[in-house]
Amino acid sequence: MRSLLMTVLAFFSLTALTCRAEVVVVLNSGEGTITRIDRQSYQPIDHFYVGREPHHLMSLPDNSALIVANAVSNDLVFLNPKTGDILRRLPRISDPYQIGFSPDKRWFVANSLRLDRVDVYDAHDFHLVKRFELASMPSHMAFSPDSSTVFITLQGSDQLAAIDLLTRAVKWIIPIGKTPAGVILTPDGKHLLVGVMGLNEVAVVDYKTAQIIKHIPAGKGTHNFMPEGDGRHIFVGNRSGDTVSIIDTQTLTITKTFPVPGGPDDMEVSADGKELWITNRWIRQVSVVDLSTDKVVRTIPVGKSPHGIFFENHAARQ
Protein backbone atom coordinates (compact mmCIF):
# COMPACT_ATOMS: atom_id res chain seq x y z
CA MET A 1 0.00 0.00 0.00
CA ARG A 2 2.80 2.37 0.98
CA SER A 3 4.75 1.64 -2.20
CA LEU A 4 1.61 2.29 -4.24
CA LEU A 5 1.15 5.64 -2.50
CA MET A 6 4.80 6.55 -3.16
CA THR A 7 4.42 5.61 -6.82
CA VAL A 8 1.32 7.76 -7.17
CA LEU A 9 3.04 10.70 -5.46
CA ALA A 10 6.12 10.29 -7.64
CA PHE A 11 3.96 10.20 -10.73
CA PHE A 12 2.15 13.41 -9.83
CA SER A 13 5.40 15.15 -8.87
CA LEU A 14 6.93 14.20 -12.18
CA THR A 15 3.83 15.29 -14.07
CA ALA A 16 3.81 18.63 -12.25
CA LEU A 17 7.49 19.14 -13.02
CA THR A 18 7.01 18.24 -16.64
CA CYS A 19 4.12 20.67 -16.91
CA ARG A 20 6.15 23.49 -15.38
CA ALA A 21 9.25 22.93 -17.45
CA GLU A 22 9.67 24.88 -20.63
CA VAL A 23 9.62 22.44 -23.44
CA VAL A 24 11.38 22.58 -26.80
CA VAL A 25 9.62 20.63 -29.54
CA VAL A 26 11.73 19.31 -32.41
CA LEU A 27 10.36 17.59 -35.51
CA ASN A 28 12.51 14.77 -36.83
CA SER A 29 11.26 14.79 -40.40
CA GLY A 30 13.22 11.74 -41.53
CA GLU A 31 11.73 9.37 -38.98
CA GLY A 32 8.33 10.91 -38.28
CA THR A 33 8.98 11.63 -34.64
CA ILE A 34 8.99 14.45 -32.14
CA THR A 35 11.72 14.97 -29.56
CA ARG A 36 10.74 17.10 -26.58
CA ILE A 37 13.61 18.74 -24.70
CA ASP A 38 13.64 20.45 -21.32
CA ARG A 39 14.94 23.91 -22.13
CA GLN A 40 16.43 24.45 -18.68
CA SER A 41 18.36 21.20 -18.36
CA TYR A 42 18.88 20.65 -22.13
CA GLN A 43 17.89 17.03 -21.58
CA PRO A 44 15.51 15.18 -23.89
CA ILE A 45 12.19 14.47 -22.14
CA ASP A 46 10.66 12.04 -24.59
CA HIS A 47 10.59 10.94 -28.18
CA PHE A 48 7.46 9.70 -29.94
CA TYR A 49 5.93 9.04 -33.33
CA VAL A 50 3.71 11.72 -34.84
CA GLY A 51 3.28 10.87 -38.54
CA ARG A 52 5.21 10.76 -41.81
CA GLU A 53 7.55 13.59 -42.66
CA PRO A 54 6.66 16.25 -40.11
CA HIS A 55 8.60 19.26 -41.39
CA HIS A 56 7.09 22.38 -39.86
CA LEU A 57 5.08 23.40 -36.84
CA MET A 58 3.50 26.48 -35.38
CA SER A 59 1.18 27.61 -32.65
CA LEU A 60 -2.52 28.00 -33.22
CA PRO A 61 -3.41 31.71 -33.20
CA ASP A 62 -4.99 31.34 -29.73
CA ASN A 63 -1.92 29.37 -28.50
CA SER A 64 -4.18 26.52 -27.42
CA ALA A 65 -2.09 23.94 -29.24
CA LEU A 66 0.82 23.40 -31.56
CA ILE A 67 0.09 22.33 -35.12
CA VAL A 68 2.45 19.76 -36.59
CA ALA A 69 2.16 19.36 -40.36
CA ASN A 70 2.81 15.79 -41.52
CA ALA A 71 3.51 16.13 -45.23
CA VAL A 72 3.33 12.47 -46.24
CA SER A 73 0.59 11.47 -43.78
CA ASN A 74 -1.61 14.24 -45.25
CA ASP A 75 -2.70 15.46 -41.85
CA LEU A 76 -2.29 18.11 -39.17
CA VAL A 77 -1.65 17.00 -35.62
CA PHE A 78 -2.67 19.26 -32.75
CA LEU A 79 -0.24 18.80 -29.89
CA ASN A 80 -0.01 19.98 -26.32
CA PRO A 81 3.70 20.87 -26.24
CA LYS A 82 3.85 20.85 -22.44
CA THR A 83 2.58 17.30 -22.00
CA GLY A 84 3.29 15.87 -25.41
CA ASP A 85 -0.34 14.76 -25.73
CA ILE A 86 -1.79 14.56 -29.20
CA LEU A 87 -5.06 16.43 -28.84
CA ARG A 88 -6.47 15.63 -32.24
CA ARG A 89 -5.53 14.72 -35.76
CA LEU A 90 -7.05 16.55 -38.72
CA PRO A 91 -6.89 14.14 -41.66
CA ARG A 92 -7.14 14.73 -45.42
CA ILE A 93 -5.02 17.90 -45.47
CA SER A 94 -3.09 17.36 -48.66
CA ASP A 95 0.69 17.24 -48.30
CA PRO A 96 1.18 20.13 -45.84
CA TYR A 97 4.90 20.93 -46.03
CA GLN A 98 5.24 24.57 -44.96
CA ILE A 99 2.33 26.14 -43.08
CA GLY A 100 1.34 29.60 -41.91
CA PHE A 101 -1.51 31.71 -40.56
CA SER A 102 -2.13 35.16 -41.98
CA PRO A 103 -1.59 37.92 -39.37
CA ASP A 104 -5.35 38.57 -39.22
CA LYS A 105 -5.80 34.85 -38.39
CA ARG A 106 -8.26 34.50 -41.23
CA TRP A 107 -6.27 32.25 -43.56
CA PHE A 108 -4.25 29.11 -43.09
CA VAL A 109 -1.88 28.45 -45.99
CA ALA A 110 -0.15 25.13 -46.70
CA ASN A 111 2.56 24.74 -49.31
CA SER A 112 3.04 21.41 -51.03
CA LEU A 113 6.68 21.52 -52.09
CA ARG A 114 6.54 18.01 -53.54
CA LEU A 115 3.40 18.49 -55.59
CA ASP A 116 3.66 22.09 -56.83
CA ARG A 117 0.60 23.32 -55.03
CA VAL A 118 -0.49 25.98 -52.55
CA ASP A 119 -3.67 25.48 -50.56
CA VAL A 120 -5.54 28.29 -48.84
CA TYR A 121 -7.82 27.20 -46.00
CA ASP A 122 -10.26 29.10 -43.83
CA ALA A 123 -8.32 29.28 -40.55
CA HIS A 124 -11.44 28.85 -38.44
CA ASP A 125 -12.51 25.44 -39.64
CA PHE A 126 -9.69 24.40 -41.99
CA HIS A 127 -11.96 23.99 -44.98
CA LEU A 128 -10.23 24.40 -48.31
CA VAL A 129 -11.00 27.73 -49.94
CA LYS A 130 -8.70 27.66 -52.94
CA ARG A 131 -6.06 25.37 -54.38
CA PHE A 132 -3.34 26.94 -56.55
CA GLU A 133 -1.18 25.02 -58.96
CA LEU A 134 2.16 26.79 -58.54
CA ALA A 135 5.18 25.22 -60.22
CA SER A 136 7.60 24.47 -59.06
CA MET A 137 8.39 23.44 -55.49
CA PRO A 138 6.57 26.07 -53.41
CA SER A 139 8.72 26.21 -50.34
CA HIS A 140 8.59 28.93 -47.66
CA MET A 141 6.05 31.72 -47.11
CA ALA A 142 5.58 35.17 -45.59
CA PHE A 143 2.51 37.40 -45.28
CA SER A 144 2.10 41.09 -45.91
CA PRO A 145 1.35 43.03 -42.71
CA ASP A 146 -2.24 43.67 -43.82
CA SER A 147 -2.79 39.94 -44.50
CA SER A 148 -3.81 40.66 -48.07
CA THR A 149 -0.92 38.80 -49.66
CA VAL A 150 1.09 35.67 -49.11
CA PHE A 151 4.55 35.51 -50.68
CA ILE A 152 5.88 32.12 -51.63
CA THR A 153 9.32 31.04 -52.82
CA LEU A 154 9.29 28.61 -55.73
CA GLN A 155 12.41 26.61 -55.07
CA GLY A 156 12.33 24.61 -58.30
CA SER A 157 11.68 27.47 -60.73
CA ASP A 158 13.82 30.13 -58.99
CA GLN A 159 10.91 32.51 -58.45
CA LEU A 160 9.00 34.43 -55.84
CA ALA A 161 5.21 34.44 -56.13
CA ALA A 162 2.62 36.72 -54.55
CA ILE A 163 -0.92 35.45 -54.05
CA ASP A 164 -3.73 37.90 -53.31
CA LEU A 165 -5.70 36.31 -50.48
CA LEU A 166 -8.68 38.59 -50.94
CA THR A 167 -9.26 37.91 -54.62
CA ARG A 168 -7.58 34.50 -54.38
CA ALA A 169 -5.50 35.09 -57.50
CA VAL A 170 -1.80 35.08 -58.26
CA LYS A 171 -0.71 38.74 -58.29
CA TRP A 172 2.77 38.37 -59.65
CA ILE A 173 5.66 35.97 -60.06
CA ILE A 174 9.21 37.30 -60.41
CA PRO A 175 12.57 35.61 -60.97
CA ILE A 176 14.53 35.76 -57.72
CA GLY A 177 17.66 33.68 -58.23
CA LYS A 178 18.77 30.08 -58.10
CA THR A 179 16.91 27.89 -55.58
CA PRO A 180 15.19 30.31 -53.22
CA ALA A 181 14.16 29.04 -49.79
CA GLY A 182 13.25 31.15 -46.74
CA VAL A 183 11.31 34.38 -47.06
CA ILE A 184 10.55 36.89 -44.30
CA LEU A 185 9.20 40.39 -43.90
CA THR A 186 11.58 42.94 -42.38
CA PRO A 187 10.41 44.27 -38.99
CA ASP A 188 9.54 47.65 -40.54
CA GLY A 189 7.27 45.85 -43.00
CA LYS A 190 8.92 47.48 -46.01
CA HIS A 191 10.85 44.64 -47.60
CA LEU A 192 10.96 40.95 -48.07
CA LEU A 193 14.19 39.06 -47.51
CA VAL A 194 14.62 35.91 -49.56
CA GLY A 195 17.33 33.32 -48.89
CA VAL A 196 18.70 32.37 -52.29
CA MET A 197 20.54 29.11 -51.70
CA GLY A 198 22.08 28.77 -55.14
CA LEU A 199 23.55 32.29 -55.12
CA ASN A 200 24.61 32.28 -51.45
CA GLU A 201 22.84 35.57 -50.88
CA VAL A 202 19.82 37.29 -49.45
CA ALA A 203 17.70 39.07 -52.04
CA VAL A 204 15.90 42.16 -50.77
CA VAL A 205 12.55 42.68 -52.48
CA ASP A 206 10.28 45.70 -52.51
CA TYR A 207 7.07 43.72 -52.61
CA LYS A 208 4.94 46.72 -53.51
CA THR A 209 6.75 47.11 -56.82
CA ALA A 210 7.84 43.46 -57.14
CA GLN A 211 11.46 44.58 -57.63
CA ILE A 212 14.70 43.24 -56.20
CA ILE A 213 16.41 46.25 -54.70
CA LYS A 214 19.53 44.68 -53.22
CA HIS A 215 21.57 41.50 -53.06
CA ILE A 216 23.29 40.80 -49.74
CA PRO A 217 26.09 38.23 -50.02
CA ALA A 218 25.72 35.67 -47.23
CA GLY A 219 27.07 32.18 -46.55
CA LYS A 220 26.87 29.04 -48.67
CA GLY A 221 23.34 27.75 -49.13
CA THR A 222 21.54 30.76 -47.61
CA HIS A 223 18.38 29.13 -46.40
CA ASN A 224 16.07 30.24 -43.62
CA PHE A 225 15.35 33.20 -41.33
CA MET A 226 14.36 33.96 -37.77
CA PRO A 227 14.05 37.44 -36.23
CA GLU A 228 16.27 38.19 -33.28
CA GLY A 229 13.29 39.84 -31.60
CA ASP A 230 14.80 43.32 -31.24
CA GLY A 231 12.84 44.73 -34.16
CA ARG A 232 16.01 45.15 -36.18
CA HIS A 233 18.14 42.03 -36.63
CA ILE A 234 17.34 38.76 -38.33
CA PHE A 235 19.26 35.49 -38.25
CA VAL A 236 19.80 33.67 -41.53
CA GLY A 237 21.08 30.11 -41.68
CA ASN A 238 23.56 29.12 -44.39
CA ARG A 239 22.76 25.43 -44.65
CA SER A 240 25.57 24.34 -46.95
CA GLY A 241 28.23 26.50 -45.31
CA ASP A 242 27.42 25.47 -41.73
CA THR A 243 27.16 29.07 -40.57
CA VAL A 244 24.52 31.50 -39.33
CA SER A 245 24.64 35.19 -40.20
CA ILE A 246 22.95 38.20 -38.66
CA ILE A 247 21.35 40.78 -40.94
CA ASP A 248 20.82 44.35 -39.84
CA THR A 249 17.51 45.15 -41.54
CA GLN A 250 18.07 48.90 -41.26
CA THR A 251 21.34 48.93 -43.15
CA LEU A 252 20.54 45.71 -45.08
CA THR A 253 24.00 44.35 -44.37
CA ILE A 254 25.37 41.29 -42.64
CA THR A 255 26.92 42.25 -39.36
CA LYS A 256 28.19 38.93 -38.11
CA THR A 257 28.60 35.29 -39.12
CA PHE A 258 29.35 32.38 -36.81
CA PRO A 259 29.71 28.62 -37.33
CA VAL A 260 26.97 26.11 -36.54
CA PRO A 261 27.61 22.52 -37.60
CA GLY A 262 25.67 19.97 -39.61
CA GLY A 263 23.37 21.96 -41.89
CA PRO A 264 21.71 24.65 -39.74
CA ASP A 265 18.03 24.82 -40.65
CA ASP A 266 15.05 26.04 -38.60
CA MET A 267 15.68 28.33 -35.65
CA GLU A 268 14.07 29.59 -32.46
CA VAL A 269 15.29 32.49 -30.31
CA SER A 270 14.65 32.74 -26.58
CA ALA A 271 12.54 35.68 -25.41
CA ASP A 272 15.44 37.02 -23.34
CA GLY A 273 17.59 37.06 -26.47
CA LYS A 274 20.27 34.91 -24.85
CA GLU A 275 19.96 31.69 -26.82
CA LEU A 276 19.49 30.63 -30.40
CA TRP A 277 18.31 27.04 -30.90
CA ILE A 278 18.90 25.49 -34.33
CA THR A 279 18.13 22.15 -35.88
CA ASN A 280 21.23 20.59 -37.47
CA ARG A 281 19.66 18.83 -40.39
CA TRP A 282 22.44 16.43 -41.35
CA ILE A 283 23.70 15.27 -37.95
CA ARG A 284 20.59 14.47 -35.87
CA GLN A 285 21.26 17.25 -33.41
CA VAL A 286 19.97 20.54 -32.12
CA SER A 287 22.57 23.22 -31.37
CA VAL A 288 22.20 25.91 -28.75
CA VAL A 289 24.14 29.11 -29.43
CA ASP A 290 25.01 31.45 -26.58
CA LEU A 291 24.27 34.81 -28.21
CA SER A 292 26.64 36.69 -25.91
CA THR A 293 29.56 34.80 -27.47
CA ASP A 294 27.98 33.50 -30.70
CA LYS A 295 29.32 30.04 -29.90
CA VAL A 296 27.58 26.71 -29.89
CA VAL A 297 27.51 25.80 -26.21
CA ARG A 298 25.30 22.71 -26.35
CA THR A 299 24.45 20.01 -28.83
CA ILE A 300 21.51 17.79 -28.05
CA PRO A 301 20.90 14.49 -29.85
CA VAL A 302 17.51 14.25 -31.52
CA GLY A 303 16.16 12.13 -34.40
CA LYS A 304 16.80 11.80 -38.10
CA SER A 305 16.74 14.94 -40.22
CA PRO A 306 15.51 17.41 -37.55
CA HIS A 307 13.67 20.29 -39.19
CA GLY A 308 11.03 22.36 -37.35
CA ILE A 309 11.70 23.63 -33.83
CA PHE A 310 9.50 25.52 -31.37
CA PHE A 311 9.33 26.73 -27.83
CA GLU A 312 6.68 28.88 -26.29
CA ASN A 313 8.78 31.54 -24.63
CA HIS A 314 10.36 32.73 -27.85
CA ALA A 315 11.43 36.16 -29.06
CA ALA A 316 8.99 38.28 -31.03
CA ARG A 317 8.60 37.06 -34.58
CA GLN A 318 9.11 40.57 -35.96
Binding site: S73, R131, D242
Partner: protein, 320 residues
Amino acid sequence: MTWFETFMNGFTLTQAWLFEHCVNPLLPPLGLLAYQEEAFDATEFALVGVGEVALLILIFRPLEALFPAERWSGRRGVRVDILYTLLHRLGFIPLVMFVLMWPLTFKLDAWLRFHGFIPYTLEDLIPPLENRPLPTFFAYLVIIDFFSYWLHRFQHRLEWWWALHGVHHSQQTMSYWSDDRTHLLDDVLTATFFSLLSLAIGVEPGQFILLMMIPRILQSLAHANINWRFGPFERCLVSPHYHRYHHGIGTGSESGQSSCNFAVLFPIWDILFGTANFSKETPPTGIADQQEGRDYGSGFWAQQRLGCQRLWYALTLGKA
Protein backbone atom coordinates in the same frame (compact mmCIF):
# COMPACT_ATOMS: atom_id res chain seq x y z
CA MET B 1 26.09 4.84 -24.62
CA THR B 2 24.93 1.48 -25.97
CA TRP B 3 26.69 -0.21 -28.89
CA PHE B 4 23.63 0.55 -31.02
CA GLU B 5 23.79 4.27 -30.21
CA THR B 6 27.53 4.26 -30.91
CA PHE B 7 26.90 2.56 -34.24
CA MET B 8 24.11 5.00 -35.19
CA ASN B 9 26.28 7.99 -34.21
CA GLY B 10 29.07 6.71 -36.40
CA PHE B 11 26.65 6.12 -39.24
CA THR B 12 25.16 9.61 -38.91
CA LEU B 13 28.55 11.33 -38.86
CA THR B 14 29.75 9.30 -41.85
CA GLN B 15 26.61 10.13 -43.81
CA ALA B 16 26.88 13.82 -42.91
CA TRP B 17 30.57 13.92 -43.87
CA LEU B 18 29.97 12.17 -47.19
CA PHE B 19 27.05 14.44 -47.94
CA GLU B 20 28.71 17.71 -46.99
CA HIS B 21 32.06 16.95 -48.64
CA CYS B 22 31.25 14.74 -51.62
CA VAL B 23 27.58 15.11 -52.63
CA ASN B 24 26.43 18.59 -51.64
CA PRO B 25 29.22 20.45 -53.48
CA LEU B 26 28.10 18.78 -56.72
CA LEU B 27 24.49 19.95 -56.46
CA PRO B 28 24.83 23.66 -57.41
CA PRO B 29 26.91 23.07 -60.59
CA LEU B 30 24.49 20.31 -61.61
CA GLY B 31 21.52 22.62 -61.00
CA LEU B 32 20.15 20.20 -58.41
CA LEU B 33 20.36 22.27 -55.22
CA ALA B 34 16.57 22.22 -54.91
CA TYR B 35 16.90 18.47 -54.37
CA GLN B 36 19.33 18.80 -51.46
CA GLU B 37 17.14 16.82 -49.06
CA GLU B 38 16.62 14.03 -51.59
CA ALA B 39 20.40 13.95 -52.16
CA PHE B 40 20.92 13.63 -48.42
CA ASP B 41 18.53 10.65 -48.36
CA ALA B 42 20.28 9.15 -51.40
CA THR B 43 23.60 9.38 -49.52
CA GLU B 44 22.03 7.37 -46.74
CA PHE B 45 20.69 4.83 -49.24
CA ALA B 46 24.16 4.37 -50.73
CA LEU B 47 25.79 4.09 -47.32
CA VAL B 48 23.25 1.50 -46.17
CA GLY B 49 23.94 -0.30 -49.46
CA VAL B 50 27.66 -0.41 -48.72
CA GLY B 51 26.95 -1.89 -45.29
CA GLU B 52 24.54 -4.37 -46.82
CA VAL B 53 27.04 -5.55 -49.43
CA ALA B 54 29.70 -5.90 -46.72
CA LEU B 55 27.30 -8.01 -44.66
CA LEU B 56 26.49 -10.20 -47.68
CA ILE B 57 30.16 -10.89 -48.28
CA LEU B 58 30.98 -11.48 -44.62
CA ILE B 59 28.06 -13.80 -43.92
CA PHE B 60 26.91 -15.45 -47.14
CA ARG B 61 30.26 -16.06 -48.83
CA PRO B 62 31.53 -18.35 -46.02
CA LEU B 63 28.13 -20.07 -45.89
CA GLU B 64 28.27 -20.76 -49.64
CA ALA B 65 31.70 -22.31 -49.12
CA LEU B 66 30.59 -24.40 -46.16
CA PHE B 67 27.13 -25.54 -47.32
CA PRO B 68 27.01 -25.35 -51.12
CA ALA B 69 23.85 -26.46 -52.89
CA GLU B 70 25.93 -26.87 -56.08
CA ARG B 71 29.66 -27.31 -56.47
CA TRP B 72 31.14 -25.14 -59.24
CA SER B 73 34.50 -25.37 -60.90
CA GLY B 74 34.83 -21.58 -60.55
CA ARG B 75 32.88 -18.42 -59.75
CA ARG B 76 33.49 -16.62 -63.03
CA GLY B 77 29.78 -16.65 -63.90
CA VAL B 78 29.00 -14.82 -60.65
CA ARG B 79 30.98 -11.69 -61.57
CA VAL B 80 28.31 -9.98 -63.65
CA ASP B 81 25.82 -10.39 -60.80
CA ILE B 82 28.18 -8.46 -58.53
CA LEU B 83 27.87 -5.54 -60.95
CA TYR B 84 24.05 -5.76 -60.88
CA THR B 85 24.11 -5.85 -57.07
CA LEU B 86 26.38 -2.82 -56.79
CA LEU B 87 24.31 -0.86 -59.33
CA HIS B 88 21.14 -1.59 -57.39
CA ARG B 89 22.18 -1.46 -53.77
CA LEU B 90 24.47 1.54 -54.00
CA GLY B 91 21.60 3.43 -55.55
CA PHE B 92 22.50 3.96 -59.23
CA ILE B 93 19.56 2.07 -60.71
CA PRO B 94 17.11 3.26 -58.00
CA LEU B 95 18.21 6.84 -58.84
CA VAL B 96 17.48 6.32 -62.54
CA MET B 97 14.12 4.76 -61.66
CA PHE B 98 13.33 7.70 -59.35
CA VAL B 99 13.97 10.15 -62.18
CA LEU B 100 11.97 8.05 -64.67
CA MET B 101 9.09 7.59 -62.26
CA TRP B 102 8.96 11.28 -61.38
CA PRO B 103 6.19 12.12 -63.86
CA LEU B 104 4.14 9.19 -62.65
CA THR B 105 4.58 9.39 -58.92
CA PHE B 106 4.59 13.14 -58.49
CA LYS B 107 2.77 14.61 -61.45
CA LEU B 108 -0.03 12.05 -61.29
CA ASP B 109 -0.23 12.44 -57.52
CA ALA B 110 -0.38 16.23 -57.91
CA TRP B 111 -3.03 15.95 -60.62
CA LEU B 112 -5.15 13.63 -58.49
CA ARG B 113 -4.99 15.98 -55.53
CA PHE B 114 -5.79 18.96 -57.65
CA HIS B 115 -8.96 17.11 -58.59
CA GLY B 116 -9.87 16.42 -55.00
CA PHE B 117 -8.44 12.95 -54.46
CA ILE B 118 -5.93 12.58 -51.63
CA PRO B 119 -4.26 9.16 -51.74
CA TYR B 120 -4.74 6.99 -48.68
CA THR B 121 -2.10 5.56 -46.40
CA LEU B 122 -2.47 2.16 -44.79
CA GLU B 123 -3.24 3.87 -41.48
CA ASP B 124 -6.17 5.67 -43.13
CA LEU B 125 -7.49 2.33 -44.35
CA ILE B 126 -6.72 0.40 -41.13
CA PRO B 127 -7.23 2.88 -38.25
CA PRO B 128 -5.73 0.66 -35.49
CA LEU B 129 -2.37 1.17 -37.20
CA GLU B 130 -2.45 4.92 -36.55
CA ASN B 131 0.51 6.04 -34.42
CA ARG B 132 1.98 2.52 -34.51
CA PRO B 133 4.85 2.79 -36.99
CA LEU B 134 6.37 -0.62 -36.32
CA PRO B 135 3.17 -2.64 -36.92
CA THR B 136 2.51 -0.34 -39.89
CA PHE B 137 5.95 -1.15 -41.30
CA PHE B 138 5.27 -4.89 -41.03
CA ALA B 139 1.78 -4.48 -42.52
CA TYR B 140 3.39 -2.78 -45.54
CA LEU B 141 5.98 -5.56 -45.71
CA VAL B 142 3.25 -8.23 -45.93
CA ILE B 143 1.11 -6.29 -48.42
CA ILE B 144 4.06 -5.44 -50.65
CA ASP B 145 5.15 -9.10 -50.52
CA PHE B 146 1.65 -10.14 -51.61
CA PHE B 147 1.81 -7.82 -54.62
CA SER B 148 5.39 -8.92 -55.33
CA TYR B 149 4.13 -12.50 -55.52
CA TRP B 150 1.54 -11.59 -58.14
CA LEU B 151 3.93 -9.37 -60.06
CA HIS B 152 6.36 -12.28 -60.14
CA ARG B 153 3.69 -14.61 -61.46
CA PHE B 154 2.97 -12.22 -64.33
CA GLN B 155 6.69 -11.92 -65.04
CA HIS B 156 6.50 -15.62 -65.87
CA ARG B 157 3.02 -15.82 -67.35
CA LEU B 158 3.23 -13.02 -69.92
CA GLU B 159 5.53 -13.99 -72.76
CA TRP B 160 6.82 -10.46 -73.35
CA TRP B 161 7.55 -9.95 -69.66
CA TRP B 162 9.24 -13.34 -69.45
CA ALA B 163 11.48 -12.18 -72.32
CA LEU B 164 12.90 -9.63 -69.86
CA HIS B 165 12.66 -11.67 -66.68
CA GLY B 166 14.70 -14.37 -68.42
CA VAL B 167 17.81 -12.31 -67.62
CA HIS B 168 17.23 -13.09 -63.95
CA HIS B 169 16.62 -16.79 -64.59
CA SER B 170 19.48 -17.34 -67.00
CA GLN B 171 22.05 -17.48 -64.19
CA GLN B 172 23.47 -21.00 -64.04
CA THR B 173 25.74 -20.22 -61.11
CA MET B 174 23.10 -18.70 -58.86
CA SER B 175 24.55 -17.08 -55.75
CA TYR B 176 23.75 -14.47 -53.13
CA TRP B 177 24.69 -11.86 -55.75
CA SER B 178 21.92 -12.95 -58.15
CA ASP B 179 18.89 -11.22 -56.60
CA ASP B 180 19.48 -7.95 -58.45
CA ARG B 181 20.33 -9.52 -61.82
CA THR B 182 17.42 -8.04 -63.74
CA HIS B 183 16.75 -6.41 -67.09
CA LEU B 184 16.54 -2.62 -66.88
CA LEU B 185 13.13 -2.62 -68.59
CA ASP B 186 11.99 -5.20 -66.04
CA ASP B 187 13.12 -2.72 -63.38
CA VAL B 188 11.09 0.04 -65.05
CA LEU B 189 7.97 -2.14 -65.08
CA THR B 190 8.44 -3.13 -61.46
CA ALA B 191 9.08 0.47 -60.41
CA THR B 192 5.95 1.58 -62.30
CA PHE B 193 3.85 -1.06 -60.58
CA PHE B 194 5.05 -0.15 -57.10
CA SER B 195 4.73 3.59 -57.80
CA LEU B 196 1.08 3.05 -58.64
CA LEU B 197 0.67 0.88 -55.56
CA SER B 198 2.12 3.65 -53.41
CA LEU B 199 -0.57 6.00 -54.74
CA ALA B 200 -3.16 3.53 -53.45
CA ILE B 201 -1.73 2.65 -50.03
CA GLY B 202 1.06 5.18 -49.44
CA VAL B 203 4.67 4.33 -48.69
CA GLU B 204 5.86 2.56 -45.57
CA PRO B 205 7.25 4.55 -42.64
CA GLY B 206 10.85 5.25 -43.57
CA GLN B 207 12.56 5.41 -40.20
CA PHE B 208 13.44 1.75 -39.81
CA ILE B 209 16.57 1.76 -41.93
CA LEU B 210 17.99 -1.42 -40.51
CA LEU B 211 14.65 -3.20 -40.77
CA MET B 212 14.38 -2.08 -44.38
CA MET B 213 17.64 -3.92 -45.04
CA ILE B 214 16.25 -7.21 -43.79
CA PRO B 215 13.93 -8.02 -46.74
CA ARG B 216 16.75 -7.25 -49.19
CA ILE B 217 19.19 -9.44 -47.26
CA LEU B 218 16.59 -12.23 -47.11
CA GLN B 219 16.16 -12.02 -50.88
CA SER B 220 19.92 -12.35 -51.29
CA LEU B 221 19.85 -15.35 -48.96
CA ALA B 222 17.04 -16.89 -51.03
CA HIS B 223 19.34 -16.82 -54.08
CA ALA B 224 22.45 -18.00 -52.23
CA ASN B 225 24.19 -21.21 -53.23
CA ILE B 226 23.44 -22.70 -49.83
CA ASN B 227 21.71 -26.05 -49.33
CA TRP B 228 19.54 -24.79 -46.49
CA ARG B 229 15.92 -25.49 -45.81
CA PHE B 230 14.35 -23.84 -42.81
CA GLY B 231 12.91 -26.98 -41.20
CA PRO B 232 9.71 -26.14 -39.32
CA PHE B 233 9.93 -22.57 -40.65
CA GLU B 234 10.15 -23.66 -44.30
CA ARG B 235 6.53 -22.63 -44.77
CA CYS B 236 7.06 -19.25 -43.07
CA LEU B 237 10.05 -17.83 -44.92
CA VAL B 238 11.46 -18.44 -48.39
CA SER B 239 14.60 -20.57 -47.95
CA PRO B 240 17.52 -20.85 -50.38
CA HIS B 241 16.37 -24.38 -51.24
CA TYR B 242 12.76 -23.30 -51.86
CA HIS B 243 13.78 -20.50 -54.19
CA ARG B 244 16.45 -22.60 -55.92
CA TYR B 245 13.67 -24.97 -56.93
CA HIS B 246 11.90 -21.99 -58.55
CA HIS B 247 15.08 -21.30 -60.57
CA GLY B 248 15.60 -24.97 -61.49
CA ILE B 249 15.84 -26.11 -65.10
CA GLY B 250 12.65 -28.00 -65.84
CA THR B 251 11.30 -27.42 -62.35
CA GLY B 252 9.88 -24.43 -60.54
CA SER B 253 8.91 -21.81 -63.05
CA GLU B 254 9.51 -24.17 -65.99
CA SER B 255 6.98 -26.80 -64.91
CA GLY B 256 4.20 -25.57 -67.17
CA GLN B 257 0.92 -25.91 -65.32
CA SER B 258 2.84 -26.84 -62.16
CA SER B 259 4.93 -23.66 -62.07
CA CYS B 260 5.77 -23.00 -58.49
CA ASN B 261 7.54 -21.11 -55.70
CA PHE B 262 6.94 -17.53 -56.83
CA ALA B 263 6.92 -16.08 -53.30
CA VAL B 264 9.54 -13.45 -52.57
CA LEU B 265 9.63 -13.52 -48.76
CA PHE B 266 6.67 -15.47 -47.43
CA PRO B 267 5.69 -18.86 -48.97
CA ILE B 268 2.18 -18.35 -47.60
CA TRP B 269 1.18 -16.81 -50.95
CA ASP B 270 2.30 -19.91 -52.83
CA ILE B 271 0.45 -22.09 -50.32
CA LEU B 272 -2.74 -20.01 -50.58
CA PHE B 273 -2.73 -19.84 -54.37
CA GLY B 274 -1.66 -23.43 -54.99
CA THR B 275 1.84 -22.77 -56.32
CA ALA B 276 3.96 -24.09 -53.43
CA ASN B 277 6.28 -27.03 -53.95
CA PHE B 278 8.43 -28.13 -51.04
CA SER B 279 10.32 -30.73 -53.07
CA LYS B 280 13.64 -31.89 -51.63
CA GLU B 281 15.17 -32.08 -55.10
CA THR B 282 18.01 -29.61 -55.87
CA PRO B 283 17.94 -29.01 -59.63
CA PRO B 284 20.61 -27.12 -61.58
CA THR B 285 19.55 -23.50 -62.18
CA GLY B 286 18.97 -21.78 -65.49
CA ILE B 287 16.54 -21.94 -68.42
CA ALA B 288 15.90 -25.13 -70.38
CA ASP B 289 16.72 -23.66 -73.78
CA GLN B 290 20.19 -22.67 -72.58
CA GLN B 291 20.98 -26.39 -72.74
CA GLU B 292 19.97 -26.30 -76.41
CA GLY B 293 22.49 -23.53 -76.96
CA ARG B 294 20.42 -20.37 -76.57
CA ASP B 295 22.61 -17.49 -75.50
CA TYR B 296 21.36 -15.11 -72.81
CA GLY B 297 24.67 -13.21 -72.68
CA SER B 298 27.44 -13.36 -70.17
CA GLY B 299 28.13 -9.63 -69.76
CA PHE B 300 25.83 -6.85 -68.57
CA TRP B 301 25.28 -5.16 -71.93
CA ALA B 302 24.93 -8.47 -73.82
CA GLN B 303 22.26 -9.56 -71.36
CA GLN B 304 20.43 -6.25 -71.74
CA ARG B 305 20.67 -6.34 -75.55
CA LEU B 306 19.52 -9.94 -75.85
CA GLY B 307 16.67 -9.19 -73.43
CA CYS B 308 15.49 -6.40 -75.74
CA GLN B 309 15.79 -8.76 -78.70
CA ARG B 310 13.66 -11.42 -76.99
CA LEU B 311 11.13 -8.72 -76.07
CA TRP B 312 10.93 -7.74 -79.73
CA TYR B 313 10.36 -11.37 -80.76
CA ALA B 314 7.69 -11.77 -78.08
CA LEU B 315 5.85 -8.66 -79.22
CA THR B 316 6.11 -9.37 -82.94
CA LEU B 317 6.14 -13.16 -83.14
CA GLY B 318 4.33 -13.96 -79.90
CA LYS B 319 7.25 -16.05 -78.65
CA ALA B 320 10.38 -14.86 -76.89
